[in-house]
């Protein structure tokens, strides 16, 4: 069974249709890159999959492990293993990173009928996971993303992913705004989490992330549709030629 099956998905924000019929299949262990120009609908796709309330699904179907994903509340999606690394991670003053992660970790355990983690065991687990993003324990006492630099916010998303161990991770422009060191740390973090039963959808504007995280498939989104799919070499072609030549591939009527 495929991990994720998107069939002719359409979605809008307000009166504006943004996704105009997306179809995509992701199998366990695969890494799919979604590329495309600004405004093509890449981030919308990522957020619709996570259940962002700003978007309305107007048609199509999304099956996650055979189940209707769109019927699930955002928290149920997360509990079943869907994780969105936000393009703009949200600052939560007053909630420490440690508290937030433990709350999320325990909710996911609870949803599986497991007991809450012993606080000491959780500290040990955190210590392990912090290594994934090359961080010390100090970060855990800071408020979630509050006053973090752009790079720290993205690292924090990867740390959350490492702790929550999703089956399907959707990375929304995780590379944007990162300097080269932060990009390396984030990309290596992702690579450490690659596994045969874990799939990734990476939304990115630039090819450079794909030098670090090599995808199995590359899809180009333009005007709310996937206009071209290919292997990792497609990313290089985009890097060389830009996105303009693809606009012609978009069906008539698409932006």
């Amino acid at each position: 069974m495929s991990m994720l099956e998107i069939k002719n998905l359409t979605a809008s924000v307000g009166d504006k249709e943004i996704l105009k019929g997306i179809s995509l299949t992701v199998n366990p262990g695969e890494v799919h890159a979604i590329m495309g120009p600004n405004g093509s609908g890449k981030s919308t796709l990522a957020q619709v999959l996570a259940g962002h309330p700003a978007y309305t699904v107007t048609g199509g179907e999304v099956l996650y492990e055979g189940e209707d994903l769109l019927e699930l509340e955002p928290e149920e999606r997360a509990q079943k293993g869907v994780f969105l690394a936000f393009q703009y991670p949200v600052e939560v003053p007053g909630v420490s990173n440690a508290y937030f992660l433990r709350a999320a970790y325990n909710e996911i355990r609870k949803s599986k009928g497991l007991e809450e983690a012993d606080p000491m065991d959780f500290i040990d687990l955190l210590e392990e996971k912090l290594k994934v993003v090359e961080w010390g324990p100090e970060i855990m006492q800071r408020s979630v993303n509050h006053g973090f630099s752009g790079g720290e916010k993205k690292r924090n998303e990867i740390l959350q992913m490492a702790v929550l161990e999703p089956k399907l991770a959707i990375l929304d422009e995780t590379d944007s705004g990162l300097d080269i060191d932060a990009l390396r740390i984030v990309a290596e973090g992702v690579n450490k989490l690659r596994a045969k039963d874990r799939s990734f959808i990476m939304v990115t504007h630039y090819q450079r992330l794909l030098n670090y995280i090599v995808p199995d498939f590359v899809h180009v989104l333009a005007g709310g549709r996937i206009v071209k799919s290919g292997g990792k070499e497609l990313a290089h072609e985009l890097e060389a030629k830009g996105y303009e030549w693809l606009e012609d591939l978009a069906p008539a009527g698409a932006a």
């Binding site: 962002h52 955002p74 928290e75 949200v90 003053p93 007053g94 909710e107 408020s143």
Partner: protein, 420 residues
């Protein structure tokens, strides 16, 4: 109202002070909505109740235990229905430099009180102060010697016994000596969760030169009761005073915090947190007098209002022409959890010096939907997410309290409320 006065064999100055209060209160009565300072806080229910002085009562140590926090060695003064109860208090081993007593006792034995009592709070500042001055039965006197570093806070606990239906007029006097370091906590609590009564408190706080003082006020009255308090602080040069005012009880509650920066290079930090639900009305008025140059005041008040509750915040800052280089910042943030909760918030800055930095900001909002989605996207259900976010909103200001066990207690109170 005068029934309690005769309990104390009053020195002449005190009799005169009380007479002044009585006279003033007889002239004004309780404020009405025509009074600008009480426009959003109708106290007619208090006037209508015509509370007699509350009767003396006793409570057991066991009944009081849920309201005691911190460390066993903290000195504690307990007042029941406005009267000192030595048996519930722990004043045996006070830190060096600290003296504590009940006001009723001190008035009989300590003539130095005349220098302070009623000297800092004008009798006519509010009608409730006038009434309090006429009618106070007792209260706490805390004095800290110059250069003393107490190490332990003193906890003043004012408990209303179950079944009380009267008024307790409480008067506190806190005098911190030069270069001393001290902390005090006031807790207003009840053992009658549904009782209707009045607590009317006036506290005068004198902060000596170069002293450091933390002052926390926790108001947990019955949600059917009325609580009116005024705290007046006088700060001498180079002193640091930090106040945290927490309110979660009372059908109507009102606290006035007046801080006079009475010399140069003084710093005052004022934090507040209030929680309203059902039909509670919770009012905070703060007034800062920047009378001298090179002083700093920093103020953050936050409120969480649910149900049909109503919050009022008024922040006055007066900067005299002499008070150059004043640095004053005021922030009021209210979180409305329902469509029927309301807040009236009003900054009031009157600045007569030209070289100053004075800012104010007020925000009123609902829970941030993006934050809520962020929690949900990590597997935390919507309802729990909202609880976490309300708690976080409160925790951010609680974090400003310096004494750790007080922070823990405030966090517990907020968590209990949020999880109800």
């Amino acid at each position: 109202m005068t029934a309690v006065a005769e309990r104390v064999s009053a020195p002449a100055w005190l009799a005169a002070l009380r007479a002044k209060g009585a006279e003033r209160f007889a002239a004004t009565g309780y404020p009405t909505s025509k009074d600008e300072d009480w426009r959003f806080t109708p106290v007619a229910p208090i006037a209508r109740a015509e509370f007699a002085p509350s009767a003396p009562a006793t409570v057991t140590a066991a009944a009081l235990r849920p309201f005691i926090f911190g460390q066993a060695e903290w000195p504690r003064l307990v007042f029941v229905n406005g009267r000192y109860d030595a048996s519930l208090s722990t004043t045996g081993s006070l830190p060096a430099g600290m003296t504590v007593s009940s006001l009723a006792e001190a008035l009989a034995s300590d003539p130095s009180l005349e220098q302070h009592l009623g000297r800092h709070v004008a009798v006519d500042v509010t009608p409730f102060v006038a009434e309090n001055t006429a009618a106070f039965a007792d209260g706490a006197v805390v004095q800290v010697a110059p250069n003393a570093d107490l190490g332990l806070p003193v906890h003043l606990v004012y408990v209303t016994a179950p079944g009380t239906a009267g008024a307790s007029h409480t008067r506190n006097l806190i005098v911190i000596g030069q270069s001393a370091r001290a902390a005090l906590i006031e807790s207003y609590v009840t053992l009658g969760d549904a009782d209707t009564y009045l607590t009317n408190v006036v506290s005068e706080v004198v902060v000596g030169a170069n002293a450091w003082v933390e002052h926390v006020r926790i108001q947990r009255e019955s949600e059917k009761a009325y609580h009116v308090g005024l705290t007046h602080v006088e700060q001498a040069r180079d002193s640091h005073y930090r106040n945290f005012t927490f309110a979660m009880g009372g059908a109507i509650s009102r606290h006035d915090l007046h801080v006079r920066l009475n010399a140069a290079n003084v710093e005052a930090l004022m934090y507040g947190l209030y929680l309203g639900r059902d039909e509670q009305l919770v009012d905070n008025h703060t007034t800062i007098f920047h009378d001298h140059p090179d002083c700093r005041s920093w103020e953050v008040y936050k409120g969480v209002l649910d149900g049909k509750s109503h919050g009022v915040f008024n922040g006055k800052i007066f900067v005299t022409p002499e008070a150059q280089k004043t640095d004053a910042k005021q922030t009021n943030r209210a979180l409305l959890l329902s469509d029927t909760a309301t807040i009236d918030t009003k900054p009031q800055l009157e600045i007569f010096a030209d070289d100053v930095k004075c800012t104010h900001g007020a925000t009123v909002g609902n829970l941030d939907t993006l934050m809520e989605f962020y929690f949900r996207s990590r597997g935390i259900p919507a309802e729990a997410a909202r609880r976490h976010l309300v708690y976080a909103f409160c925790a951010e200001v609680i974090a400003e309290v310096a004494i750790e066990p007080v922070r823990t207690e405030l966090e517990r109170l907020v968590l209990d409320r949020v999880n109800e």
